[in-house]
């Protein structure tokens, strides 16, 4: 196979994390979806995209909110009796990967079945790349994003670049 | 028991190998013995030998559920060293080293104890300081130890990774010249033959299924070959200590974990010493038949399956290449697993148990093979006299209640982190 048809671009990836307490999940989620104006992803790995905001469920009671480039951050007030929020807008970077050979290149990075329903466009998979926890977001037929911890990002992008 | 020697080989060569006798008799169980040792591995067989050799107790049976030497003694990476840090461990493993040095002649069986030296690489000044502390303790206990700097290591083991792409550059190493390897099967067979020579019955395919009690005293065992009475019973079953211990009503701080071992295709001489990688879990030596024998970390979950998973195989391969890049093209021939009886402080448990007539020898974690002779010697003494041998005074079961734990690595009471 000649050098694979595949490109990688790297950018910051600001997030906000919200989490509900064990016994107030229902209330928390109804108030959150009201303030966001959209329903929330049902199970871990599902995402909802609404007015420039991507909502990802990363744990039974934990959601990540990611803004598209240039989108307006929603006013977010979390009732402390129901849950809490923490800003994660500095610690992660996004690898945007596109190309016909993306599945083969990615198969050398993470253990995700490109053809499986769990990895279909619009799905999120929390997994690991060389033991580093990463979030895989399938964004298209031959496109995806990897959300990686900032301190590991250069090491992981070197790893992926080396696969060319 | 005809003596083995070059002459015996010459004499038998002329007679077409017809006159060699059995190395140990195919014994069937007698109704009872003075001592029953459960477990036909290195420790059990050594215990039986030293009961006869040191204490004149010959009415002994070793009961092995499979074939002797089929457990951990036949599955380990054969490394022998006495570079232990803590008071209680240092002396015990050095005593074992001294017994190793005389073993082939004591047993009249060449166990091929090859003292080619063992080194552990250091990858930071702090780590080298830690090794110096260990080396100081070794020297202060009459044990040979050296601290090597980077250039010494490059001279001794030139094929290690001294390039600038090394992820964890080598700063130096700790070296013990008397350390090395031995042929593990020969240790089991050597002790079996020597014990048999003293009249010990070695009974294979005889699994202990329960204990016989008189009140709360153990007076024998139930086996797949019928009941066998005993004045005293010694447990030396390593990975299955908890399974048999439970049958005797013992509550133990032991978890069984799988530790994998690996061997490559046979090669001309490449690795002379035992080389251990201080930045990750990997160590390697070369057997006399030419295979590189190596090992790494536990798989990290309870298991009796004597086999490991592919994840650890890859991690060990990665560490192997990080230490010695030239091993990349050498091919793995076979990988298997032993069942490690892990204790919360990774030190063994040898002592009389709270149950009268029952003695325990277990908790060997990684260190079982190198401890075989000293374990047999001290366990025999403990069974014969009823009191722990001074060298194993620190290995009592009650140490976890009192807090006198011997945690060499300081990894804390999770067995899988040891």
């Amino acid at each position: 196979m000649a050098s694979p048809d595949f490109s990688l671009s790297v950018a910051d990836y600001p997030l906000i994390q919200v989490e509900a307490w064990d016994r107030t999940l229902g209330q928390f989620e109804s108030s959150l979806s009201a303030s966001l104006g959209t329903n929330l992803p049902g199970s871990v790995g599902e995402t909802v995209h609404h007015k420039g905001l991507l909502v990802i469920r990363v744990a039974p009671r934990r959601l990540w909110l990611a803004l598209d480039d240039g989108a307006q951050a929603p006013a977010l007030a979390v009732d402390p009796d129901l849950g809490c929020s923490v800003s994660l807008d500095e610690g992660r970077m996004r690898f945007r990967m596109i190309g016909a050979d993306i599945a083969r290149v990615l198969s050398k990075c993470i253990a995700v079945d490109w053809r499986a329903p769990a990895a279909a466009p619009g799905r999120a998979v929390l997994t690991s790349l060389h033991h580093v926890p990463v979030l895989f977001l399938r964004t298209g037929e031959t496109a995806c994003e990897l959300i990686v911890p900032r301190s590991f990002s250069r090491s992981l992008s070197d790893w992926i670049a080396g696969l060319n | 028991m005809a003596r083995y020697s070059a002459f015996s080989i010459f004499r038998n060569a002329l007679s077409g190998q017809k006159n060699w006798q059995r190395a140990w008799r195919a014994a069937e169980p007698k109704p009872s013995y003075d001592v029953i040792v459960i477990g036909g591995g290195g420790h059990g067989l050594a215990t039986a030998f030293y009961l006869a050799e040191n204490h004149g107790i010959r009415n002994v049976a070793v009961l092995e559920k499979g074939y002797i030497g089929g457990g951990n003694v036949g599955r380990n990476t054969t490394v022998i060293r006495s570079n232990y840090l803590l008071d209680g461990n240092t002396q015990f493993y050095e005593f074992s080293m001294k017994l190793w040095e005389g073993m082939s002649r004591a047993l009249n069986f060449n166990v091929m104890f090859s003292q080619r030296g063992q080194l552990v690489t250091a990858h930071s000044a702090d780590q080298l300081d830690g090794f110096s502390h260990r080396a100081n303790i070794m020297r202060l206990n009459g044990i040979d130890a050296d601290i090597l700097d980077r250039e010494d290591v490059r001279h001794l083991v030139p094929y290690l990774d001294f390039s600038d792409t090394a992820r964890f550059p080598i700063h130096g190493a700790i070296f013990q010249g008397r350390a090395g390897t031995a042929r593990h099967d020969a240790v089991a067979w050597g002790y079996a033959r020597a014990a048999d020579g003293h009249g010990v019955d070695i009974i294979q395919n005889c699994e202990v299924t329960d204990f016989l009690r008189d009140g709360d005293r153990i007076v024998g065992v139930e086996t797949t070959k019928g009941r066998i009475g005993a004045g005293k019973v010694g447990l030396a079953v390593a990975g299955h200590t908890s399974v048999l211990g439970a049958k005797a009503g013992l509550e133990l701080p032991i978890e069984s974990h799988v530790l994998q071992a690996f061997v490559t295709e046979p090669l001309k001489p490449l690795v002379d010493q035992v080389v251990a990688y201080g930045a990750d879990h990997f160590y390697v030596s070369q057997s006399d038949k030419g295979g590189l024998v190596f090992g790494g970390n536990l798989d990290g979950y309870n298991s009796y399956a004597q086999r490991g998973n592919l994840g650890v195989v890859r991690e060990v391969a990665e560490a192997a290449i990080a230490l010695m890049p030239c091993i990349s093209r050498v091919r793995l021939l076979r990988h298997w697993g032993g069942v490690m009886d892990m204790t919360p402080d990774a030190s063994p448990i040898i002592c009389p148990t709270p149950i009268e007539g029952l003695y325990l020898n277990g908790g060997w974690c990684y260190g079982g093979f190198k401890a075989t002779p000293a374990s047999g010697w001290c366990f025999a003494h403990t069974i014969a006299t009823g009191k722990p041998h001074p060298l194993i005074a620190a290995y009592g079961l009650d140490r976890f209640r009192t807090g006198h734990t011997l945690d060499e690595a300081g990894a804390g009471p999770s067995a899988w982190l040891q």
Partner: protein
């Protein structure tokens, strides 16, 4: 690889998880003063050659702690549950002093 069915993330290799050891030993209440209860919890293990209740955490996934029942002889996994759900069933009431 052991393959563990994380209730949130689906079937994953076990090296995405961190082992947590025996889950059948009941942890004493945080203010339980009895040394024997803590000794038994920290040190004594049944270590069965058979079905073993154990903890695993999906560290590179949803970070939930799980309770897995697995046969230690052949590694066959019988069940996987969120620790929160299974522990909620029996909250560790303080043991009466021995």
């Amino acid at each position: 690889m052991l393959r563990i069915e994380c209730p949130c993330c689906g079937l994953r290799d076990h090296d995405e998880f961190r082992y947590g050891g025996d889950a059948s030993v009941a942890r004493p209440a945080h203010d339980d003063p009895d040394p024997e209860a803590w000794y038994r919890y920290v040190y004594i293990r049944t270590n069965p050659a058979g079905l073993h209740r154990e903890f695993w955490q999906h560290v590179t996934g949803c970070r939930q702690w799980l309770v897995v029942e697995r046969d230690t002889r052949n590694h066959a996994i019988a069940s996987v549950d969120l620790a929160r759900k299974s522990s909620a069933r029996k909250s560790p009431a303080r043991n009466p002093p021995a």
